[in-house]
Amino acid sequence: MSGSMLKGWVDVFSLRELAAGMAVTLRYFFKPNITVQYPEERTPLSPRFRGEHALRRDEKGEERCVACKLCEIVCPAQAIFIEIDPSSTAEKRLTKVYDIDNAKCIFCGYCQEACPVDAIVMGPNFEFYAESRQDLIYNKKKLLDNYERWKVQIDANLEKDAPYR
């Protein structure tokens, strides 16, 4: 019997590899666990996190959106629908309807990238839900309210990310 064959037999019958595997699991048994207990504990979010949408206002409280429809065009899921306000002038363009269908949205963030006036942004909120498809269609009021609600975080995130844009 050759030496390697003998070694193979010893390995098999001493269950060496099984013991090695069990040593690994035993080592992990004594390691501290890495569970994040979600509602109480949270993982950190990047400033670039793409959560629920919001429509920003400027310092004077005016809507920033100028109804250029770039976001509507760039949206790969065709989730955005915009209608321009007929009273718009060359100096002051406003939207009449600004709907985002969150049932269609894929949270790619292209709308935020396309926006020339930083009006549509994706906020840090990911804990939102709806009980019907209708509730998932966000109108302009809902989007503007979202900005009011998450204003501090959204502005801080935009500032943190500004040097890289």
Binding site: L18, G21, M22, T25, L26, F29, K31, N33, T35
Partner: protein, 347 residues
Amino acid sequence: MTELHQFIQNHGLALMGPHWWPMVWTLVWTLIKIVLLVTPVMIAVSYYTLAERKVIGAMQVRLGPNRAGFFGVLQPFADAIKLFCKETLIPQGAKRAVFFLAPALTLVPALLMWAVVPFSPELILADVNVGILYVLAISSLGVYGVLMSGWSSNSRYAFLGSMRSAGQMISYEVSMGFTLIPVIMLSGSLSLKDVVESQRYMWNIVPLLPMFVIYFISVVAETNRSPFDLPEAEAELVAGYFTDYSAMSFGLFFLGEYANMILVSFLGSLMFLGGWLPPVAMLSFIPGMVWLLLKAGFLMFVFLWIRATFPRYRYDQLMRLGWKVFLPFTLFWIFLTGLGLHLFGKV
């Protein structure tokens, strides 16, 4: 205990009269003993399920259940309430009587075997002199529950699953029985109490270490635990014989499985690890029951440890291991044990 004994004696005698009382007394006292034995076993079973989830969780660097009560202590009750509240579905064309008998037939043998398990030299429900034979006989009954459940479900998945599981359980019963024969040869008795007492100077694991390893692997397969959990195999084989079971009839299969695991851990520590005997005579101030529980607890931990470590066997590998490795090896070791006994003059 003695007060309770006296209390029932006196009141029963007054109630039933001297003619009927002796018979009734035997019945009542036996029932009390059964309840006193089965209740701790069932509590142990329910907490073993929690321990399993905790231990495997820790080995996977996560927490395990910790929401129901402090440290998850109420989780077994939450699981039980859930199982009781669910609807028991009966498949169309199922044989109802057999369908409901099958889960009971897997749980009852698992509880029956506890009758002969000695917890200490005094604490033993039925000190029969063929305890090992009794255990082997009753453990074979478990396979009927498996076959009946698969057949009565009237489903091809459950039927094939039950065939597969029955094959596995019968195959590994052979090697499990053979690993116990050297133990019986060394102790010269079939009584579990004598087997433990014969290990006073040297635990059976010392001369019979390979038998202990094979015993343990065999009982893992016998109780359908990972890595031999082909009867369940939730990932690839459609759950096997209990595919069509739901609610508490499904839960009974699992109670039986866990009761079996605890039982074979106790048997393993009685047969190979010296039962209630301390490892060195110096430590005999600690009661024997504590030693037995520690040893059995360690074996129960190894069950979970194995489950967290190894991937599942393939069916042909399982059969090859049982018949072509364990069977010849145990037979050879029985021969060696006999030779050793002959040469060193024990017989």
